[in-house]
Symmetry: D2
Subunit: 143 residues, 4 copies
């Protein structure tokens, strides 16, 4: 289903998500904030694919990744029972932030595009630099 994307960028991660009643609203479509749930689930599974849970990142790297900025472009609705594909592509890992691009698609059609900026904060809640180890964990290298 996602073959086209995989060819386009072999490093892009894909995660399937089924739409249930809890995701929809009285308009008969997926309630618009819930695309951020789908996006986060895929990011968590991307980390797990690289061998790290959220707990690992907190405990081993002493940081929490928090969402600093989000942009969502909604192109077409999705509905109950849809099987969605959610992609995760690391766009950049800078000194203080991580930029991620995600697409929510159905049968190859992009329904929503999500752009996310994450920053790292210490357990005490202070902004800190992105741990270099995290670059490695997320399989990212500057080109």
């Amino acid at each position: 289903m996602t073959k086209a994307h995989e060819t386009a960028n072999p490093k892009t991660f894909h995660f399937p998500i089924r739409v249930y009643y809890e995701d929809t609203d009285a308009g008969g479509v997926v309630y618009h904030p819930n695309y951020l749930n789908f996006a986060l689930r895929a990011r968590i599974e991307f980390e797990r694919e690289h061998g790290y849970t959220e707990k690992d990142i907190i405990e081993k790297l002493n940081v929490l990744l928090v969402v600093r900025h989000v942009e969502i472009d909604y192109r077409a609705p999705s509905r109950l029972d849809d099987l969605l594909d959610v992609s995760v592509e690391i766009v950049n890992i800078g000194n203080t932030s991580i930029t991620i691009r995600q697409e929510i698609s159905r049968d190859g059609q992009v329904l929503a595009e999500v752009n996310i900026v994450l920053v790292a904060v210490s357990i005490q809640g202070k902004a800190v630099r992105i741990p270099p180890q995290l670059r490695q964990i997320l399989g990212w290298q500057a080109e």
Copy 2:
């Protein structure tokens, strides 16, 4: 609107809740688990009415109240834009549990009835007796 109930039991607390898109599902009605959100909001406001936030209860009484058992009877659906009345009536405070009865109504018609049993656990997660102070806080006295 809730005069009948107030006559029936002057100690019953009432809290108004508006239905938004986030509460509904593709069936066009309030998604059934969300009645538990409404019920908890009303319990929290009932505590606040008695001068206590959740944080106060945790910090001053050293306990967390957690849900041990729930029963919900669904009688009629509610919809977007409905203005609901959610009641809170303490049925019993025993040594180890609190029993609460709640009704979710619209214009005097009961749409759902929720019966909840809460227990107290220490910050370490161990079951403990209900602090006597809590009886006072919740305005409860055995008849």
Copy 3:
């Protein structure tokens, strides 16, 4: 993981569910109403396993199944990243209602037990008898 149950009742269906941030609350555990999300996802997948989506049931049988009564017994908390097993066991299909028993477990420990009564309503919202075809679909036969 669920071998014991499968031995106990070969007709019991099992569905795995991962706990994400969206499922948790500030208490650090799964927010109690969300077990009903997990239970419904498993019932939907159980129907799909039998070849029927919600849409199929609505369109082919002209009925909607709606929740009439719920009981949840909470025994132990679950947390972020937990991999849960959600079971679906048809207890009874009567003339006007379906009774279902579900367990949410982690590593064989039952964290919550959910008992649900569903009724059938027509598209116009009137209570109707359970379509005989539904008994077949759900693989149920009186013993």
Copy 4:
């Protein structure tokens, strides 16, 4: 609490929102997608203030307003029991879209800024022009 804003723009609408458990996650703060719930609740109440429910807009103007684009800037976390102020300011109503700026604040501190673009679609789901009547309803006039 919101006096400063009201001075800045007398047409800005404000709506208070209390943070409950359902809004938080295991990180101990409000779960980031839920700011979109708060933003939508305030937009709905803004419409109601102008005498229109969602149902009115659908039935009288024959359009649905749907979210086409969202940007959220997260500046500081909010927590259980916080009383938030959510603002609604119409930035522009063009031929085919409405741009709205919203701030979620606590005690005058802006915690998150939300920028939203809405478009109108017919009941059949086709993009249509913004009905002129809607400009009036939302109290908007080009300067």
